[in-house]
């Protein structure tokens, strides 16, 4: 009996071919497989039943494993997977919240996005133990979330993060009225990543092939987004260690990058750039030449500032050994993306699930030996900025070969292929953005599932601040720079 099917990124999957197995079987399989989950979500399956879909990523072979299990209308619980594979913890919490099927013996079965007033915080007892509550509204101009620190004096024993304030019901809205504009507003700092994932899902469901030129422009825009946000984050980290020179210089350098994006598509954050069927804007040669010039300047500015900072002992003493997450813990809790890479977990879906351009343009994965602290997250950003700048330059040079190709596919139809599922993974600057869509036998979209990298990584921030001074929290937080709205949806 087939227990799993092997599928690929951005490929149509026939829903009727997805196996249905017993939940207890699935649990033992998941444990034996030793692969990480990227999807674990339910869908109503008629007559009060719920079908649970599980997607595991085999990053070494660019494969995805997909299976499912059906809960009858009288089954309201199952033995939790988290006990065996901790990385499932947040997925099982979400599934419980959305469908009311309880993962038994889950170690921390708490709300993800709703019922915050009933949130059961961890409690610690002791004469000198005290709690510090922060949020939902924070001191800076950032999104809302509640943090609860269990402290002994200045030292944080544990941080609990309660989110959900940003919940807008995006997954339901995607079923009613999906659009590129909605997709790019889900998480406004990863506009290109979200919009590309959404567009790839729709293109697969509508059987549209986009031009090589459009593929390259999307790829370039994604790297531009990475460069801009990473530079902004270097500035924010500098600000949080009171190195204001860094904050000013990186802030100004970021402006150069996003203004280049504005020249390309009319929006500093890349809104309206990507669309189903291709891209909306075709950067002229003049704009491309100017972009290359700007990026060269950006590269010099960032180099100069980072090197100055890394030579400065007061800077280094704040970055090193602050907010460390060990490799072992990162693997256990299933960190993804940039945060995982800083701990030595080599996950990067640009290379794990490569498109044809990775080989053609000669992009290679370069790993760094990093220790999972703020310093690691600082240096990794620096490295990725340099790499992305060289990627963008290569892509821009390649674009000239496809001058006469269209940027948008002709005659885009509005019919979705029935009985299908599509999984689309895009490596945004934080990590993998996963969009999954399903259609029914009439070609109507019936489920839209989104997984932001922050969904996995918030717990990592909780671990990072353990045994650090509470005053280092802003620094740890900024070094992760996780998304509230990507998590809350």
């Amino acid at each position: 009996m087939v227990k799993w099917i092997k599928v690929k990124n951005n490929t149509r999957i026939d829903i009727n071919k997805i196996p249905i197995i017993e939940i207890s079987d699935m649990r033992s399989e998941v444990k034996a497989f030793n692969l990480r989950p990227i999807g674990f979500f339910g869908k109503e399956w008629g007559f009060g039943c719920v079908r649970l879909f599980v997607i595991l990523a085999d990053d070494a072979n660019a494969d995805l494993y997909l299976s499912s299990s059906v809960f009858g209308n009288d089954v309201k619980s199952y033995e939790s997977f988290t006990q065996e594979v901790p990385a499932f913890h947040i997925f099982e919490r979400e599934f419980y919240e959305q469908f009311g099927i309880e993962p038994l013996h889950h170690p921390w079965l708490k709300p993800v996005r709703v019922n915050q007033d009933k949130y059961p915080f961890f409690e610690m007892e002791g004469e000198e133990v005290h709690q510090v509550a922060v949020g939902p509204i924070h001191a800076g101009v950032i999104e809302p979330g509640h943090f609860r620190f269990m402290c002994n004096g200045e030292t944080v024993y544990h941080l609990e993060i309660m989110l959900g304030y940003q919940h807008r019901g995006v997954e339901d809205m995607m079923l009613k009225n999906p659009s590129n504009q909605l997709a790019e507003s889900i998480c406004g700092d990863s506009v290109i990543a979200y919009n590309t994932a959404y567009s790839q899902v729709m293109e697969t469901l509508k059987a549209i092939n986009i031009s090589r030129k459009a593929q390259l422009i999307r790829k370039m825009a994604l790297e531009m987004e990475r460069i801009a946000v990473h530079i902004g984050d270097l500035g924010a980290i500098s600000g949080d260690i009171a190195y204001l020179m860094g904050a000013s210089v990186f802030g100004a350098t970021r402006t150069l990058v996003i203004n280049t994006t504005l020249e390309m598509c009319g929006s500093r954050l890349g809104r309206g750039f990507v669309t189903v069927g291709g891209v909306n804007y075709d950067p002229s040669e003049e704009v491309i030449d100017r972009a290359v010039e700007t990026l060269n300047k950006v590269r010099t500015d960032v180099d100069r500032m980072v090197k100055t900072m890394l030579k400065n002992s007061t800077v280094m003493s704040r970055l090193e050994k602050t907010g460390t997450v060990s490799l072992e813990k990162a693997k256990d809790i299933g960190l993804v993306g940039m945060a995982a890479r800083t701990c030595g977990v080599d996950l990067d879906s640009r290379f794990d699930f490569p498109d044809k351009w990775v080989e053609e343009l000669g992009f290679t994965r370069k790993t760094m030996n990093l220790k999972g602290d703020v310093n690691a997250r600082f240096k990794l950003r620096y490295k990725e900025i340099k790499e992305s700048i060289s990627m963008v330059k290569k892509i821009l040079a390649k674009l000239k070969e496809y001058k006469n190709e269209p940027i948008i596919a002709e005659g885009v139809n509005n019919k979705l292929t029935p009985d299908s599922m599509v999984i689309s993974i895009v490596e945004g600057w934080r990590g993998e953005v996963v969009h999954i869509a399903m259609t029914d036998l009439h070609g109507k979209m019936t489920r839209y599932k989104i997984k932001d990298p922050s969904f996995n990584n918030w717990y990592g921030l909780g671990l990072a601040v353990r045994n650090n001074g509470i005053s280092d929290f802003p620094l740890c937080n900024k070094s992760f720079n996780l998304s509230y709205c990507g998590n809350d949806l």
Binding site: R113, V114, Q116, P136, I137, A139, G140, V141, I142, E143, P144, G164, Y165, Q166, H167, R168, G169, D172, M173, K176, N177, S179, N180, Q181, L182, S185, I186, C187, G188, D189, V191, M245, S248, V249, G251, A252, R254, T255, N259, L262, E263, M264, C265, G266, S267, R268, L269, R271, G272, N280, D301, R304, M305, K307, T308, K311, N312, S483, Y484, C485
Partner: protein, 247 residues
Amino acid sequence: MFDTLKSRIYQGSQFIKDIENAPMREQFRGFPKFNAGEDFSACKDVCPTGALSLEPLSIDMGKCTFCGACERVCKGIELTNGYKLASSSREKLVITPEVDYENYLKSAVEVREEIHKIFGRSIKFRQVSAGGCNGCEMELNACSNVNFDMGRYGIEFVASPRHADGIVITGPITENMAYALEDCYKSVPDPKVVVLCGACAISGGVFQESEKLNREFLEKYPIDLYIPGCPTHPLTFINAVLSFIKK
């Protein structure tokens, strides 16, 4: 230290000197312009937020995300690089073919003597993101960077509502943030102002149809300034506040 100084000298000065007349790149999508005599029927149904109406012909900048979908399919509409989009009245955000940019600027933000008297030299805001996607938040942060440097006009974001003269709301106001938002508003000492920043805050934007919003706050309390955009450009924001507090 010498390296730091060298970096400083190398950077030079980068602030925008005349922020009220700062040039904007022509690619920017801002104030809408209607070209009379064109056929507008192709624009029907392309607007993702219902900002564009054909009968009568108008674009509601309070709903518009400036995505450019309408101008791409129809020659009759052009989103110009006019970036001073703010208004003190919700109705004025609805732009019809009769309203051109020059005229809009003259009357969009009502000059109030008492506002100038109290806040003319300094206005401090507490920012509340209530479901904001981090787009407007990032742009509001950019307002304080070395390029835009709105601090020089006495405009600043402060850490506590107790220190603030008003609040700037971004995001469509989710149910889960409704209480915190109202709490924050109540904590700001009187007299205070409320600014809505971005399409989501003004109208719900792309999230208008969401069932998880609670926008009662906007019915309960007076709104002083509407600043369109998706996200709001720093120049749009700073100029909006400047025109609000001027004489």
